[in-house]
């Protein structure tokens, strides 16, 4: 999420996006000072329950955020070669293994990660557990893993029920398991660090997370109903995700509120990076960290704005939970988290719901592998009347990214398939006004 990549501006213009990026640099410097002073530091995967670390005041770095920094600094290729030199695979889980690879670099970005004492991660797929075990073997970090569970049957429309009815929706056995895992991890961290888990602080953390995501929901809904869109994903990704990695703090809650207020102000004033918005696009997949300027070319050329990414959408729908027992409620947040973005029908039906809610005219789906259940995602979005273009790319691996070829591919998609859909949508909306 650097401001300049491959010589192209990302297009980020919101003060909150810039403030978040500045804050992140300051936070990382402070984190390294704490580490130098002897504080243990954790590495966590994006969908791990970071809230328990927040309650224990154990500083942590999010694996995918650090991978995005490495990728934005054009290090993905060299880092994957470093992995290969040590006998590890360099052609799978690139996004999740870049952080480990960065520890083999003598001159990593931002001076590199501090020593990592703990790794917390959920284990979707066959390789993730091995990647995080390698942290233990190579860097002496203790790996604290959470099982990935798969239910027999599911209600596809999870977003309608999950805030309050998560126990029934996710299933008691899965919630029981994760609650027990959380209990064990907390005890381990208490013993290992000498700290005590503060139940009151934890409750506050949980409340702050809900407040933060309510602001994100309001922002998502505002962008969804506003044309021209007040911002693009070049703004929303840093403004959402950096605070997301700090969720459970007052700063993160306030950053989400500021983000909302900035978007509200823009909407009220009719401001937009693309005043002549013609086409609304969604980006399905992880961010294109090494080429964040990619998105802006389409708004300049076609009036086509990438207004949606899963980062704000998931913040709006995926995190908020209410419950009496905060630890069980945290399990309710994460026990089924991979299902929301990676497994049919939860992922596919949600992407389709979001496409409709955000008045999307076309979806660009970046995927190297089929981890997401691409057919089902594409099918659901298309069934909602939105054409989909699937492109090949990996956020953690710039080696195979052909910027010009993909740009041409998306341009053709917009011209041939998306433009007519957008024209019909605009006409429909015009008739309603």
């Amino acid at each position: 999420m650097s401001e300049f990549t491959r010589g192209r501006r990302t297009g980020a213009s919101l003060p909150s996006a810039k403030a978040a990026t500045t804050y992140q640099r300051q936070w990382f410097a402070r984190l390294k000072e704490r580490a130098a002073a002897g504080d243990p530091v954790a590495l966590v995967n994006a969908d791990a329950p970071q809230e328990i670390l927040r309650a224990l005041d154990i500083p942590y770095v999010v694996n995918q955020w650090w991978a995005s920094v490495c990728a934005a600094k054009q290090r993905s290729g060299p880092y994957l070669r470093l992995l290969a030199e040590r006998g590890y695979p360099a052609d799978q889980e690139q996004y999740n293994s870049l952080a480990l690879a960065s520890t083999f670099d003598d001159d990593p970005p931002w001076g590199g990660l501090p020593p990592i004492s703990f790794v917390l991660a959920e284990m979707t797929g066959d390789a993730l557990r091995k990647v995080f075990e390698a942290w233990q073997r190579e860097r002496g970090a203790t790996f604290l893993g959470f099982e990935r569970t798969v239910p027999r049957e599911v209600d596809p429309h999870w977003w309608d029920r999950i805030e309050d009815d998560w126990e029934a929706l996710v299933g008691k056995p899965r919630i029981d398991l994760m609650t027990a895992e959380l209990t064990g991890v907390i005890r381990h961290l208490e013993v290992a660090t000498g700290r005590t888990f503060d139940e009151e602080r934890f409750r506050t953390v949980m409340e702050l997370v809900n407040e933060q995501q309510l602001y994100n929901r309001a922002t998502r809904d505002l962008i969804a109903r506003t044309s021209p869109a007040p911002i693009t994903i070049a703004d929303s990704i840093p403004s959402v995700m950096i605070p997301q990695w700090h969720r459970g703090t007052e700063w993160a809650r306030d950053a989400a509120r500021t983000f909302y207020e900035e978007v509200r102000e823009r909407a009220d004033n009719g401001e937009s990076p693309c005043p002549d918005e013609q086409i609304r696009l969604m980006w399905v997949g992880t961010g294109l960290w090494f080429d964040m300027g990619f998105y802006s070319w389409f708004q300049e050329t076609y009036g086509a704005m990438f207004v949606w990414s899963m980062y704000l959408g998931l913040a709006a729908d995926g995190y908020i939970r209410h419950g009496e027992d905060p630890l069980r409620t945290l399990a309710g947040r994460f026990a089924a988290f991979p299902d929301m973005i990676n497994a049919p029908p939860w992922a596919s039906e949600w992407y389709a719901k979001e496409a409709v809610h955000n008045r999307i005219d076309g979806a660009v789906h970046m995927a190297t592998t089929d981890r997401r259940g691409n057919y089902f995602v594409n099918r659901a979005i298309e069934a909602a009347g939105v054409p989909v273009l699937q492109i090949v790319g990996d956020s953690g691996d710039a080696r195979s990214w052909d910027q010009e070829a993909v740009q041409a591919q998306v341009a053709e998609f917009i011209e041939k398939r998306v433009a007519p859909v957008a024209a019909r949508r605009r006409a429909r909306e015009e008739r309603r006004r």
Partner: protein
């Protein structure tokens, strides 16, 4: 006589890629995918478990559902299921043994929700987890109880612990004979009497025939073992991914080696999961699948590496071949750790680049293996 047993076992093995029969030994079949499916439960319910593999070349029906990144074995299994290859079975049980099987279940569940296919039997899913902690064991027990209850519904009869105990003993007998095939016909001091290709078929036949039939044939094979010729060649132990077909075995043995053991669950690893005379049978069923005899997916690389070194040394292996498959992600991460463990027991390891599932040729693997085998032969002759 022994050749008859071997021939019959080989013929049984070949049936795995054809349509699942409606019944075996007068019991309705339940097809299963994933080594973690507790076949003892299927037997206790009165079903005949029939392991359902992929088939080289069978992908077309699944192509629209599976993009790149899905294990070709799972893609092929989905294609076969969509083509109706399990239509005659009483059901299909899947487990969480690897991402390929998980994806297969998720996609089948979704296909049946969106566009129900009559040729796909009813589904069950056993969500067995693998972290070696009590938390996972408690979850696994609850899932086993649910799986037993579901199989009981399928069978229209209760499944008692006595039924389970009887089935466990029957399957333990199969596992004991798989181990005996290894110790007497593959790793005996006077040399192997089965090629790896033959051994794979002998063991694999156990997954597609009734325990009664398979045990009788295996006992006959063992009784007449002395009539089988000794197999010369460098002794290779095969690690890495699972092999539901003999193509890798055929390639390695065509280069003058003989595969004397392997740690995948279509081979010798299938003999390592005894239930035993446990007082707590359901816990023992879970433990045997979750913790005993770790496959690569779901298990720690260190645990896996220790097992590879132990099994390879017990086989008297001269060389370990790590064979990995594209999009079967786990095994490649084990290789650096396995290499270290094997160094400690003095056995070199050669790692083959990830191979496509079901390919007719593996030229890059062949070149690498030929070179490694020549080098090892020269070392051993010095």
């Amino acid at each position: 006589m022994n050749l008859d047993a071997l021939g019959q076992l080989a013929a049984l093995y070949e049936t795995r890629t054809g349509p699942v029969p409606a019944a075996l030994d007068d019991r309705p079949t339940v097809a299963y995918v994933g080594a973690d499916v507790p076949t003892e439960v299927l037997s206790a319910a009165g079903f005949a478990p029939f392991r359902f593999p992929g088939r080289s070349g069978a992908y077309e029906s699944a192509a629209r559902y599976c993009g790149p990144g899905i294990d070709g074995a799972a893609v092929s299994q989905l294609a076969r299921l969509l083509d109706g290859d399990a239509a005659a079975s009483a059901g299909l049980a899947l487990s969480a043994d690897c991402e390929g099987t998980v994806r297969l279940f998720l996609y089948l569940r979704e296909i049946q929700r969106l566009e129900r296919r009559p040729g796909i039997p009813r589904l069950s899913y056993f969500d067995l987890l693998h972290l070696p902690q009590r938390t996972s064991a408690v979850y696994n027990r609850s899932r086993l109880d649910a799986f037993i209850a579901e199989m009981s519904e399928w069978a229209h009869r209760p499944i008692t612990d006595a039924d389970l105990r009887e089935a466990a003993a029957e399957h333990d007998r199969v596992r004991a004979l798989i181990r005996a095939v290894g110790s007497e016909l593959r790793t005996a001091p006077d040399g192997p009497r089965l090629t790896g290709v033959q051994a794979l078929a002998v063991i694999g036949a156990a997954f597609v025939s009734s325990p009664r039939v398979w045990c009788a044939l295996a006992e006959q094979l063992l009784a007449d073992a002395g009539d089988l010729p000794r197999r010369p060649g460098i002794r290779v132990f095969l690690t890495g991914c699972g092999h539901d077909n003999p193509s890798a075995y055929q390639l390695i043995e065509s280069l003058g080696a003989v595969i004397v053991g392997e740690d995948h669950d279509w081979g010798a690893l299938a003999g390592e999961r005894d239930i035993g005379p446990s007082q707590h049978l359901r816990s023992a069923l879970v433990r045997s699948r979750a913790l005993a005899a770790p496959a690569s997916a779901g298990h720690a690389a260190a645990l896996r590496a220790e097992q590879t070194a132990r099994m390879a040394a017990a086989c008297g292996a001269d060389l370990v071949v790590a064979w990995t498959r594209q999009y079967d992600d786990a095994p490649a991460w084990d290789v650096p750790v396995q290499r270290e463990s094997l160094e400690r027991v003095g056995i070199p390891l050669v790692a083959v680049p990830a191979q496509p599932y079901g390919a007719a040729r593996h030229d890059d693997a062949a070149d690498l293996l030929m070179s490694a085998l020549h080098e090892r032969t020269a070392e051993m002759s010095r």
